[in-house]
Symmetry: C3
Subunit: 648 residues, 3 copies
């Protein structure tokens, strides 16, 4: 089903009914509104103007549209900041951030928590049972613009209390952190500052705990909103829109307080932001995006939600304004992205935004309508899509079971952010490389959080989890399939220490090997890995292993690079794309799982009994369907930027 993000407050009231009927005509079912409207809802303290919102809700309702109402906390208005300046977040330089854009609040601020509770309660009471409203969105894109970490004075005292709760005594903190290093011992929790503006890097355990604390602040802030809304708006779902390529807080913990998690999908902007891709590749993909970039996030967020429910709350409908370069999506891509999201299990795909605003920071961000209110070219794609969707009846389908699961979490990103040990070590790129290889081989993939049930998977991949939660170890203990473990897994304890038994830590139960040295490599280095007589380029990361196992692949210096024993596999290096395709292909072969090497721009996805093939490239391609396939969409050849669908 389709949705759209709408800002009635940006347009003349007399236009609203036109907009609503245009939406309905386009087959849109859901409309998100209100998440940046505080200054129009409460122009001054306790002076509320509900009229316009009442009218907007009624207008949408009358057109048969269902509303997701946002709490407006991402943009506290100026009068509020002036009254309570301790709402503001402080930056790493120890200065308050200023009003004038968005997300200027500090999650920890007691004043801000009070004001948040106040506005949420008022809105929940007023609109909690409004017939147009089917759900809520809390705030907007927590953490966007680097706002998870704040360095305000109240953060410092809250962090001290958090530490005291965690460690009980200062001696225990000193021991857990290892403050003996560089005489960093504390005598009292009240001495502990925030880890910024130090001469060289601050203590890694200090930084890691501050990140955990900061993530906890996001979670508890969100929970506070959720509890208020839940109490006063029964039977409405509660959601938040997470971001792409973003890991600054624990999304699994956040999702636990939501009914449905949603995410904001901007494939071109994400592709422009590197992901380990070189300049030529990014240029080649500039108008289509990387063929796995949206899919990765669909699978990631589906696995973040307890029940697998997710929406795309913001779907890029044209060029955006915020990447370094902002090309126009190739014609067909918006339809393709939408079908792809649905094929990955999205309940709803909602476009951001209905109509391009002529003003403000996002005036160069396309909408479904142009700034002059005329439908943008993309509307024809959506009409075609609606036509397709009527043929498909996706509503009842659930994902076909995946054979392979990739395990990823957020905290690993904090750990490598604190200790990259090589400036090219970007976990986002490493996770993505494993994911992309599986997808190039034509497989459905689940992305799981550590601790998820592993039953039924033939292969579990741990690209790199430095910290292995007990829940994961427990799940692995009962798991019978194959496991591929990537470098640096199990290399840290909870307190950012090297484990006494060395990496891969507790995985040594199954993988009898120890990482005794690690190396990171500068660009242009000419090193290689040899596996099954084929040479692969070695870059970024490698490890020296102590083990009685006979390696099945070697570095150019003869030391072991690829290990396995029974169902367990270990890669002691950052694998490149070519290696991963060959290696995973061989593993799937052992598992009797059929794979195929898809063209660069071709991807497959199975949903229920349907097979989707997506061609995001500029050339027509042969559809990888069996002879005589029963096509619901397309046929033996897929046009550029097009989709074919056939039933099993």
């Amino acid at each position: 089903m389709l949705g759209v993000c709408y800002y009635p407050e940006h347009w003349p009231e007399e236009r609203w009914s036109t907009d609503a009927s245009m939406m309905a005509d386009l087959g849109i079912r859901f409309v998100r509104i209100g998440e940046f409207a505080w200054s129009r809802l409460e122009p001054a303290r306790d002076r509320f103007d509900w009229t316009w919102l009442d009218h907007a809700l009624d207008t949408l309702n009358m057109a048969g549209l269902q509303v997701i109402l946002g709490t407006p906390t991402a943009t506290p208005p100026k009068w509020l900041i002036d009254q309570r300046p301790d709402i503001l977040a402080w930056d790493q330089n120890g200065q308050p951030r200023r009003f004038g854009s968005r997300r200027h609040y500090c999650f920890t601020s007691p004043a801000w928590r009070e004001e948040t509770a106040r506005i949420c309660l008022i809105m929940a009471k007023r609109y909690g049972d409004h017939p147009a409203i089917v759900g809520w969105q809390l705030d907007n894109e927590y953490g966007c613009h680097d706002t998870v970490l704040s360095f305000a004075p109240h953060c410092r005292s809250a962090f001290q209390s958090w530490l005291e709760r965690r460690y009980g005594t200062i001696d225990r903190l000193n021991k857990s952190w290892g403050t003996v290093f560089w005489a960093q011992d504390y005598q009292d929790f009240a001495q502990i500052g925030l880890p910024h503006q130090t001469v060289t890097e601050a203590h890694p355990a200090h930084r890691m705990d501050f990140w955990r604390f900061s993530s906890d602040q996001v979670i508890s802030y969100n929970r506070m909103q959720a509890e208020i809304i839940r109490q006063h708006s029964p039977e409405r779902f509660i959601s938040h829109n997470a971001m792409g390529l973003f890991h600054d807080f624990d999304h699994r913990a956040l999702a636990a307080d939501l009914d449905v998690i949603t995410w904001d999908s901007y494939p071109l902007g994400f592709t422009d932001q590197r992901m380990g891709l070189d300049e030529a590749t990014r240029a080649r993909l500039a108008t289509s995006g990387h063929p796995d970039i949206a899919a990765w996030h669909h699978d990631l967020y589906r696995g973040t939600s307890e029940g697998g429910r997710f929406w795309v709350m913001e779907q890029q409908p044209g060029p955006v304004n915020w990447a370094d370069h902002n090309p126009i999506p190739a014609p067909g891509m918006v339809r393709l992205w939408t079908l792809e999201a649905l094929a990955h299990g999205a309940e709803v795909v909602s476009y951001f935004r209905w109509r391009q605003a002529p003003f403000g920071q996002e005036q160069m961000h396309a909408g479904l309508l142009r700034p002059d209110g005329v439908p943008a070219p993309v509307v024809d794609e959506i009409k075609r899509l609606q036509h397709d969707l009527r043929k498909l009846d996706l509503g009842a389908k659930t994902s076909a079971p995946a054979n392979v699961a990739i395990i990823a979490d957020d905290a690993s990103h904090w750990i490598y952010g604190i200790q990259p040990q090589g400036m090219n070590f970007d976990l986002k790129a490493l996770n993505f490389a494993f994911y992309s290889a599986c997808r190039r081989l034509g497989l459905n993939v689940d992305v799981l959080r550590p601790g998820a049930d592993l039953t039924g998977y033939a292969l579990v991949i741990v690209p790199s989890l430095p910290l292995l939660p007990k829940a994961l170890i427990d799940a692995l203990a009962g798991y019978k399939g194959k496991v591929v473990v990537g470098p640096r897994s199990g290399s840290k304890t909870r307190e950012m220490q090297t484990p006494p038994e060395l990496a891969p830590g507790s995985l040594q139960t199954w993988l009898p090997l120890k990482v005794i040295q690690v190396g990171s490599l500068p660009p242009s280095v000419d090193r290689s890995v040899v596996w099954r007589n084929k040479r692969y380029r070695l870059a970024i990361w490698y490890e020296h292993i102590e083990s009685d196992l006979e390696p099945e692949g070697h570095f150019d210096d003869g030391s072991g690079a690829v290990f396995h024993t029974g169902h367990w596999h270990y890669l002691a290096f950052w694998p490149d794309e070519t290696f991963l395709l060959d290696y995973l292909e061989s593993i799937f072969e052992e598992l009797d799982i059929e794979t195929m090497r898809l063209a660069d721009s071709l991807r497959l996805r199975r949903l229920g009994d349907l097979n989707f093939a997506f061609n995001s490239g500029p050339e027509a391609l042969k559809t990888p369907a069996p002879d005589g396939a029963n096509f619901l969409l397309g046929g033996d050849e897929i046009e550029p930027r097009d989709v074919a669908i056939w039933r099993n």
Copy 2:
């Protein structure tokens, strides 16, 4: 005529008469002095030392030299800063900038305005009718070192007043800016801060108005100085020295308060600063500079001044100290640059500086004399030049009428600075590309400010003016020639909004097309434009156009890229050098204007009945003169870094 910048206070008094007679012997007529001398004129408040300046003026006067005296406000002395620290400018981080270099004052500071008026009045009264003095320079290089924007507390209150004058009511400001976006509404002008240190980019209308305000502060500050000097120094001209590649304030408004505008020409330093040139091109041009870089500024500043009067106040005479790399100009270039400036209409070319200082921040900046007082090698070039000039009698010549005018302003640079939308979109490079193409075709070019009279031009080029002032639209309404309009023109309203009718805004009167989508491109992208069956590389920027016009050129996806109707032409993309040469050549052909494809390093310029050909390259070239031309300088072949001149 030639001039020089001189700092008598840097040298022993007994040397001055030697310097003066050396200047006179070299044919120098004008000497600029005094613009950094405050600490020597007023060593402590109200304790003045005029003796040395009196003596210096007399010495120069006795040698027959005419003086331009500078007001010394670019460098307020330490005692003054200590007495009135609120003179200081504040940086974007909200901290006062410190004493110890130059331009540390804030244009808005009330204390600074008082002190400026005081010193100007005293100097004007004392020297207003001194016989040596023929003109004044106010301050020095307004805005240099990023000093137009200041974030001091007094800036905030002055900005609030400026906004109140502009908008009258806060509601009108909210509506004009579009503060409804992200709940940025204000209830009172007193709430509005300066647009810095926000979480993400500040509101574009807020930023644009702050830039306008800041530009206005420069203009009113300069006007205050001009009025004081004008009152007390009758019959002396008033000038200021503007910079190259610099647009942070409105130079047209500044020039309106001056008698003559001057600019500071450093071709090698400017070429080192990119201008859209790749590394190899910059390396090739390292010792000659780009052949259009000085010419562009001559034509720009000639068009900035109401009456077309301009000087080069500082001409690079050797290596400088401030660019990333500072090569020695190839022998001959200083003479070439001087003749080129005169050919473009400069009244005077004044070298910076007479003698290289052995101390201070610019001790590595060459002068006509070496630090030891001996003439530098460049002096021989100037002697040769004087010899040339005696043959030419340029004094009475005015520029030959140009067939083509390029329209450019400063505010467009602020707009694209605020909203580049693609990180490579550098308007300086785009304007320069159009200019350079016309010059490669052998034409004289005028650079006009919007609103200038367009009568007589066969072609008007608008490379990219996002905001179209009414005066320009009026001028175009009466204009009968051809117009070439580049991308993003007419894409903004005065309040940094997208115009309701979309780009190109009011140009749609003549160009029946609408820009419905825009895209920016990452480097290395492989896109193209096809025009007249030839393929050109597409980079940086492209637009999708809605129009009933049949495009005459297309993007590789088949959509229209080049449009024209009647005398109006529109380019929906950033044109590369090759395209511009072909395209403009064809347009000039239609206009029956003769062009020629000059070699890379060759340029032509007509002044009165004289034709100048400049060869800035390392190889001798055939002079592009008609057979049997009447050469005043040179002949059928131009030596490297040399000039040929012939009469029509």
Copy 3:
């Protein structure tokens, strides 16, 4: 002899005796301890815990190990910072740096000097005559993490007093600095601020004096510690561990207050930090380091110490944690580096660190033991090395006399840091290029500080000394050998002015030439120098020379580039590697000094009657020994990463 750095406070007390006996078994003689232990020695003011240190010293002593005890001042503990926050250094932005890493103190802080004296006195009294202790290390790596310059309020007043002592009167300062430039005159020392946060660069003389002042603060701070320790710990040597690629203070002055200077050798990390090497070269050398990088520092620090005594206090034993990329050293390199240090005259090579810490900022820094206490692979290399050393008896050897001396100091780095004049002008790379060329030619090289005795050298090279101290001029006056002088030598006076006689200043006594113009070049420029009919690439820097001498080499524009007269040679450009090899080879030929062109990765070193050949490359190479050489180690071929030694 070998040593190691040990942190007993990081490990359980019951482990210490195991560690001590493992050290002894490995042939280690010296152990450095204590330099980061303040928080464990004095957990709260005046509450001392000596027990553990007593025990550690006794444990080491009993194993026959000799201890170098560190004063723990590099890491003042939190309680101390909280009591006396004016200990903190302030950064360039005018903000105090925060506790949480190391080196957070300001050398100038009066409070810090008091506290330093207090802890040093207490420790010296307690341990001054402890039988285990043979020497002291004062503090740790002065200046690391950019900590020489501090901008605290007390720095400002101390700097003013320092200036008053230096100049006596403010007039003299004004004249010496040249404050007349840009009206920077002062009326009183109390007006002078620190040179930061200025609008553009601060006055170069101001910056240079602030750097001198800051260096003096390091020296006097160290001297204070030295005097206290010397008084209370007779017959123990006093040392400090200097760094590689680091010149922020005057190391010669520091060494004058020490008995032995030591330095910390991390060849891979240094090679990763550019040194003028391109990316491909750095990649090639990633696991071996540049073959001259450690040698350069050995020779530099040997020449820094009055009597030529030096140690390597920290020798990289495996991958480190702090470079951009941190590869594992190729097997054999640690042994090679150790033998190389000894061949260059190091008395002791001490590994950093004994056992890799599992916690803290350096948990990814390898030790001789792995974090789990098991010997790392490098231990086998050290065992082999001990076996080698027993055959060699190096103890009594002193360096074979070098024929060539390179003169270098620290202040030149400050000067070029303040006025690079071309962004690629990195003196570290220039000095290194000359050094490396001599080493490629097979020679022993001494690196001398200006003023050192030059007797006995056949060739003295001055790569680039902008400021020529009188002691150097005096030494040169009596010197009879050849001198090669590189660009920019003699280009500055003590007050950062151009000398009245121009560069090369007082060297004009012997070199009758003047530098009348200088140029710096952008990358990719295609310029050349021709010498003896061979063309060499010109990059980075070139000069135009006025002289009656006939140049023996020319730039491509025909002007002189290579000059000589008698025994004096001048290079008016930045020489590239190829030129230096050819040019120096010809000079050595004239001097009848035998040279050989060694392979890229091969180096020679003579110590006493021993010849060492080091092959740091990946291929076996022929040993450059005479036929029938008497090998103590190796033979006619040197394996990769191996060493051959033969007796003369």
